[in-house]
Symmetry: C2
């Protein structure tokens, strides 16, 4: 098994002002290429700490990916470390990257600064994989067995997340060439609405029945629910047959809590269902403040089925724009099944969509008598019926809004599924 | 200087299916307490790897914080490692945590499972800080100098992010007691609208003028812009005086690109401005799909000034709900200053808010002749005028939507500031 360590460099990571998202993106790509990430390390923009982190990583792993610590505000500290590690004796300018730098900056109408040009200059013992999306190239250093006791390759990626992500196809292709890699196969089952520990209890007998060569991971996410991921190293046909049997068993146990048999999100699954049936959807949101619409429109091509949304935060907007009757708000309050139903029906009337989903609740932090923190009512309406359902969560404001939104999308998914069965 | 290492445990981190957000939250809290985080390490749910990571961290640092690797689906692998490291000879049940477990589960109407009760059981050489938000307590192990050559304390936090965050006040209070800590002072200046490298160029002389005891960090974030953070270890009055002089100089250089002199977000700053002036705001969104509203409502108490939003994804919703004249869409297209202006005016009419901000553009991935990917028109309207401004970005869909949203909020902020100056 080829193993890897991901090193991210930057004081901003250690100070905690940015969350390192590169590591997760890189490890997903490596995993798909059959490389197992065994460790992630973050250190600051300090030369000797980077050097010792990279050296230790190269001693322990076949592949080391480093991001960050490049660029004008960093004094290119990572590049200096790579210069030393690679035993370079000078810098050379990479002409392909230089051309990209000129093209990118002039297409953006920006002046080309000295500091930009410097990015095409790399230690002379590095190979370069050009970065088409940005100014800092990928640097590759190959170490023979004499250096760390085993063959090792170091890849230095730009720190900007979309540039790092954009370089990964080239990097994994290079890794495939450099190493003869055991394949790894994954099958991910997406579930929503059952908490991780309850899920573990419910499928414990199924889990015990998994063959020993299958590794199972529980992957909870506030927006996506709990993903169950089976992994098999080695044989494709073994993997295929065990995945198909075990997936069928799991769906039998979990029923409609399973919403996809691949790594997908609720908005993607809903998008697929709506596009297939040629139906459209709209939302009316109070406590979720636009996040349900925002999740739906995060999917490319969502304009095919998403018409629009009314975020009715103020009671006046609920009445005047969505047409929620004043008596409903007076008698039942805004956080009520009656209001959720009227909001969903109102926005469906307004936009002419086939389905509408609404949310009204209290994400916190302040509670009131009729509006406990964490309570949300969801309304769902189609041409022939309107349903409401409530959920209770106990998180902070942001997390509650996320759960409210995903619960609303999941309720819509179930509503559509049950409509089709009628 | 007291230093710390944060260790996060979990195959789900190494597989890249979840992004580790705990490390950033923990390091911010430690930084405020005057502890310098020097390293972050993530390893999988494998006993010997956790053991060696924790041992190495304890050898190198005064404080080690570990999260994850606890709970029923993990076989409590972190707890087993702590048992060994602490030299425990048995497990004891912590009665305070046991009571919390009973209270939490029964208040949620859940059955109390054996696996839940087990969480109150800890190695007998650990101290416990009860976790009021969840079932797994914080475990504390104190090591004398004889063990690692210096005094060291290990804190094991629950892996659930809001539980880990909730425990940090108690943990930093314990750290303050256990170590005599040099204070650290930060001053953060928030800027929006200038790219990091251009910013670095623009303030390079100012940066050179900083006294040597001030450390400067550039912290770029797609939603927040670039934060400039000055840090001073040691003396409060030195810090205060240098911060006030250098902040004033920076504002002189950067003008209205500076939107806050503390760690704040654009929605928080806007909320403060609107609340102070007693004004209200609404949004009309096309390409941002609800994210502008979602950002505004992420702030607690935003119902005081945010009335609502119309997400007009379909052209029909732009016309029928927002009242954008058909001729505008026909003559200029939906991605145009004319449409942005009509959307902003329309939603202001509809909701009666004092200010409206609108977005219409193309986040990608597909371009068309009049709608290049990355182009957005923003409209801003008040009782006496409507302005429009366009922005161009070159990112993927999600990143473009984020930048469109923040640019719209920043444009609104500048619009309000200029109104007040009239």
């Amino acid at each position: 098994m080829i193993t890897a360590c991901i090193c991210t460099i930057g004081d901003e990571i250690l100070i905690g002002q940015i969350t390192d998202t590169n590591s997760a993106v890189i490890s997903r790509a490596l995993g798909k290429a059959g490389v197992m990430v065994r460790k992630m390390v973050s250190v600051g923009d300090i030369r000797q700490e980077i050097e010792s982190a990279l050296t230790e990583a190269l001693e322990e792993h076949d592949i080391v990916i480093v991001t960050g610590g490049l660029g004008p505000t960093k004094d290119d500290v990572t590049k200096n470390v790579i210069y030393g590690l690679s035993g370079s004796s000078g810098y050379v300018t990479d002409s392909a990257q230089l051309e990209i730098i000129h093209r990118i900056l002039s297409s953006r109408g920006l002046d080309i600064l000295e500091s930009n040009l410097k990015q095409a200059s790399v230690p002379d013992r590095c190979e370069v994989i050009p970065n088409r999306l940005g100014t800092a190239p990928v640097m590759v250093v190959r170490f023979g067995e004499e250096r760390f006791g085993h063959k090792a390759v170091l890849y230095s990626l730009p720190g900007v997340p979309f540039e790092a992500a954009g370089a990964l196809d080239d990097v994994t292709a290079d890794i495939r060439k450099a190493f003869s890699i055991e394949k790894i196969y994954h099958k991910t089952i997406m579930t929503y609405g059952i908490a991780e520990s309850a899920l573990a209890d419910r499928i414990s007998a199924w889990e015990d029945s998994l063959p020993s060569f299958v590794r199972l991971a529980y992957l909870p996410d506030p927006l996506k629910g709990v993903a169950l991921r089976m992994s098999v190293y080695g044989n494709a046909s073994d993997a295929e047959s065990v995945f198909s049997v075990k997936t069928a068993e799991l769906k039998e146990i979990l029923g409609d809590a399973v919403y996809a048999e691949a790594e997908m999100t609720l908005p993607e699954v809903l998008g697929g269902i709506l596009r297939k049936s040629g139906k459209t959807v709209c939302t009316a949101e109070s406590c979720t403040g636009g996040m349900v619409a925002s999740q739906l429109t995060s999917v490319p091509g969502s304009s095919d089925y998403f018409l629009g949304s009314v975020v009715a935060y103020a009671a006046g907007v609920k009445e005047n724009v969505l047409g929620v009757p004043h008596e409903i708000i007076d008698s039942f309050g805004t956080v009520s099944p009656e209001c959720a139903a009227a909001m969903a029906e109102g926005v469906r009337r307004l936009t002419g969509a086939d389905y509408a989903v609404s949310t009204t609740g209290n994400a916190g932090p302040s509670a009131s008598e009729e509006k406990p923190v964490g309570l949300v009512w969801v309304g769902i309406s189609s041409y022939d019926r309107t349903e409401t359902v409530s959920f209770n969560f106990r998180n902070d404001r942001i997390r509650n809004i996320e759960r409210f939104s995903s619960s609303a999308l999941n309720a819509l998914r179930k509503f559509i599924a049950s409509s089709e069965n009628i």
